[in-house]
């Protein structure tokens, strides 16, 4: 076994043992502990757990790569996935915490005095969370197969087993403490390579500052200026100004923001803290911990792009000899994620924006973070750490999603609608069984990713943005909002969003059924399906308020309920008696 593999086994084995230890130490004894960790998590702990819950395989592995190739256009992810926390902290979390229940559908069911509303919310939650979880399971499989040369399937089984142990034993309590450990692992794994690379390129160890500094080669040229020059000479769009289009960027950022604020597995975490004050605070801490990664990511992206361009063409006209390509180049060629084709037969590598002459026929954006330490010649233990970090990011998010799904089924559907007289012990058992089934379903989807896996991203955020977010906002800020109006709003929001996604990406993403085609000329104001959640949300609001005029306001005891959860003081009637 070579050194890298040994280190990787130590890093992965060590972190996994830690997760098992925490699972045993934090096992849950009641439904309150299982769903909301007994309400005893401090804001700082909750902030860290939210950070790990939120930052998925996509944030850890894909985001910097996206930014590396989109440049300024990648800002939609940076602003969209952080700006949502402002909405959460100001508009949703404190009031939902005050109401004092366990799940998002439960809040919607209480506020809209309707089992139908609760069921609609459960359906949205399950679709959004399941589509989201496929990506995490794939991330686990890929990390194992790339770094440990274990079969993809085997890697997935190992990942499923680990999540199974701590999620079923500990529920929210076990997941929370594991997520805290996973946050520490993933942020260390993300920042250490970034610090090294920033130091190498600019002499400044802080990546956020390094990105705005001059190059360390003594030329006195700013890194970003040099990058702009290099990429535009090769025909690519200038890094710092390449945009996705004005309307598209606006709609995309807004969709990601409100989608983030409407994702149930994140909102749920705010039910774990002891008070309203703590809910506000934990949103702040959460964003600090998230920002640590999100402000480093643009530096990682730009520096990875710079290193890649520089390796291939160290100076204008002096291209890399293919025969002398570095080791990481060969490693990634084996995976098929990097591919070279010597079109002009000169034995050198030409990388340009022109399809006819470009010889780097495949540069998968996902390799940017994973290959980064190797490209920068960092020691093997750093690479091993990146593997453990990627796994931590994928597992922590998967666990949060699984809990959201299983609590929606055991608490909202079974206890709330089907078998209301279930006692607590039975419910706890039921939630563990549902959790087990959810892990198996998630594993199955990871093993047999449906053909539409690539398009599901749009669906998860689109659904959260167009249904859950508006329903919660209106429930809190409009006392009069009635059950009928809210349900009509949710259904039309989802309807419009799904229709748009399907008509451009295919019904259930089956190729050939996209009756308007994926083509840009057919896009509504040039908005891509990924960015359509904001339009769906707008439709939701309009329909709901129009229906409210027609059907009349909510009954007075519901208006009193709203008045009550708007202030931190006192109990809400019926709260905490589970």
């Amino acid at each position: 076994m070579d050194e890298l593999k040994l280190y990787t086994w130590i890093a992965v084995g060590g972190t996994f043992s830690l997760y098992f230890f925490i699972a045993w130490w934090a096992r849950a004894g009641s439904t309150s502990e299982f769903y909301a960790a007994g309400g005893g998590i401090t804001p700082l702990q909750n902030g860290m757990a939210i950070g790990a819950d939120w930052m998925s395989a996509a944030s850890f592995i894909s985001m910097a790569g996206l930014i590396a190739f989109l440049g300024y256009g990648g800002s939609v992810f940076l602003m969209g996935w952080t700006g949502g926390y402002v909405l959460l902290a100001l508009c949703l979390a404190p009031y939902m915490r005050k109401h004092g229940k366990f799940t998002v559908p439960e809040f919607i069911g209480d506020r809209y005095y309707s089992k139908a509303a609760r069921i609609v919310a459960v359906v949205c939650l399950i679709i959004a969370s399941l589509t989201y979880i496929i990506g995490q399971m794939k991330g686990v499989g890929v990390a194992f197969s790339r770094f440990l040369e274990v079969e993809y399937d085997m890697g997935l089984y190992i990942g499923m087993f680990v999540v199974f142990v701590y999620a079923t034993l500990g529920g929210m309590k076990g997941i929370t403490y594991t997520q805290i450990a996973q946050y520490v692992v993933l942020i260390t794994a993300y920042t250490i390579p970034a610090v090294f690379i920033s130091l190498q390129l600019t002499g400044n160890p802080i990546p956020q500052l390094g990105l705005g500094s001059t190059l360390a080669d003594g030329s006195g040229v700013y890194l970003l200026d040099k990058l702009d020059t290099v990429v535009s000479e090769l025909g690519f769009k200038e890094y710092t100004t390449s945009t996705l289009g004005d309307v598209e960027m606006f709609a995309y950022t807004l969709s990601l923001m409100i989608g983030t604020a409407g994702l149930p597995h994140v909102i749920m975490r705010f039910f774990t803290v002891p008070s309203v004050k703590a809910a506000r605070q934990s949103a702040g801490y959460a964003l600090v911990f998230i920002a640590l990664l999100y402000t480093v990511a643009p530096a990682v992206g730009a520096m990875a792009r710079f290193n890649l361009m520089n390796t291939i063409e160290p100076a204008a006209g002096q291209n890399l000899e293919y025969a002398e390509r570095p080791q990481w180049f060969k490693e990634w060629e084996k995976t098929g994620l990097l591919a070279f084709e010597d079109k002009n037969g000169d034995g050198k590598v030409q990388y340009t924006a022109d399809k006819a002459t470009n010889e780097m026929v495949k540069v998968d954006r996902d390799i940017m973070v994973l290959a980064n330490p190797a490209i920068a010649n960092l020691p093997n233990w750093v690479i091993a750490l990146v593997a453990a970090g990627g796994l931590a990011a994928a597992l922590s998010t998967a666990a949060g999603l699984l809990l959201a799904i299983s609590s929606a089924i055991s608490h909202d559907l079974m206890k709330g609608v089907l078998v209301p007289d279930m006692d607590e012990k039975t419910e706890l058992m039921a939630s563990r069984i549902v959790m087990t089934i959810s892990v198996c379903v998630a594993g199955y989807l990871g093993l047999n990713p449906p053909g539409f896996a690539a398009g599901t991203f749009a669906l998860a955020f689109g659904l959260a943005a167009s249904s859950i977010f508006p329903a919660l906002m209106m429930g809190i800020f409009s006392k009069k909002m009635s059950s009928k109006a809210a349900i009509a709003g949710m259904c039309s929001g989802i309807g419009v969003t799904m229709l748009y996604v399907f008509q451009h990406k295919g019904i259930m993403f089956i190729p050939g059924t996209s009756f308007l085609g994926g083509m840009e000329p057919n896009w509504f104001f040039g908005i891509s399906p990924n960015a359509f959640g904001s339009v769906g949300a707008f439709v939701n609001f309009v329909v709901a308020f129009a229906m409210l005029k027609v059907t009349g306001p909510a009954p007075s005891h519901i208006q009193d309920l709203v008045t009550n959860f708007r202030t931190p003081h006192g109990e809400v009637a019926g709260a905490h008696n589970h």
């Binding site: 300024y72 602003m79 402002v86 500094s213 004005d246 606006f250 702040g284 003081h569």
Partner: protein, 83 residues
């Protein structure tokens, strides 16, 4: 009841201020006004680009803590802190 009304009004005012800033730094400086702002430099960063990839995020963090602090004061003023 009167108290709860004005507590909520003051809260709404705070939310409005925060969301206005939230909108200006991200959608304003980061997207709509990015081109004129890019004429200004912050070290190696063009200012519009910096807001889109760094500045907006720092502002978001600041906003949440500021709002939390103001709300704690407000809770005290109206004597509605949670037990």
């Amino acid at each position: 009841m009167e108290d709860k009304q004005s507590y909520w009004q003051e809260n709404l005012r705070l939310i409005f201020i925060c969301l206005a800033i939230w909108f200006v730094v991200s959608f304003g400086f980061g997207l709509l006004l990015v081109e004129p702002l890019n004429a200004i430099r912050l070290g190696g960063y063009k200012l519009g680009f910096w807001f889109a990839q760094q500045g907006s995020i720092y502002t978001f963090v600041g906003l949440i803590f500021w709002y939390g602090k103001k709300m704690n004061d407000l809770d005290k003023k109206y004597n509605v802190e949670d037990s």
